[in-house]
Symmetry: C6
Subunit: 69 residues, 6 copies
């Protein structure tokens, strides 16, 4: 994993669209937890997710099994 | 994992064939979840899967244990 | 994972803010364990967390699924 | 993980032997699933396994805990 | 993961202190196992832990979720 | 993970000693399985383990949580 987001990648652009559009997403973690909220930023290692209750989560990218949205 | 798909790899070509042929595939995730749908694109880190119910999933490649198809 | 923290990354800065502000955080590990405490330092591979009971944990970064804070 | 198979490695040669000899193998996945079949090709990221029922699996190499054969 | 320990990293120095001081530590593994003992050496991929019963374990670093000490 | 074993690493030398001495070892896998046998070779990605029943296992190194011996 590099320290630069490759904005040419479809997955990076997809997430950028989620951020820009404030799309409500569902994320599933390797622990089986499911969170709902909005992604507010991404970097090569983490996503920042804020839930409807305004709880902030720093999510390790490699433990986000899927983003449904 | 590089930021370029190596289209010379058999696995990348196999997935490209799934995409082109709109093959219905079954994917199993590390969480034990099984999803059915079509892969619509791949990049080095993610697959995009759309189910029969038109739900979109951004699947972290390293959590897709197998693709059956 | 490099041996240098990239302080330009939002996630690194977020954690630096937790450290500086002595924010009480909740971390969830891949084992399902949840710990509460303060992050006292980070390096590219580990976080150091100290709980309210002054127990010290060297947490492998790649097993910290999320940091809630 | 590089994009080239290092055919000098014992493990790569072992799998090549399984392929050439059409050895029936048992593979165990991180999900706990056990599959039986023949490996038909390998690349740096995946194995292609075909079962006795002619079902094809693209197996993510890093989720194949062992190959028994 | 490089083949050189970066002795400038806080986590490497922390473990070096555990070794030098023969600190009794608790380690939790991804399997959920908890071991107690002393770390006798570290390299970039493994820790060597010896328990009170003088059992030796070669622990894969990436499966040590935390070291409590 | 490089394609060359660094024989200067303590962990590589430890395993080499197990091989040379035909030490009976116990290995624990991420799936929770425990195998007993002798390691007959290692490369950067795999161990080859042969059990007392002469069953051969190609073990993915990153799924071997510990080697007890």
């Amino acid at each position: 994993m590099t320290n630069e987001l490759d904005t040419g990648l479809p997955s990076v652009r997809q997430v950028q669209t989620f951020i820009k559009d404030k799309t409500g997403v569902e994320v599933k973690l390797t622990t089986g937890d499911i969170l709902h909220g909005q992604i507010v930023w991404q970097d090569p290692q983490y996503f920042r997710l804020v839930t409807g209750q305004q709880e902030g989560f720093l999510l390790y990218r490699a433990h986000v099994v899927y983003i449904k949205g």
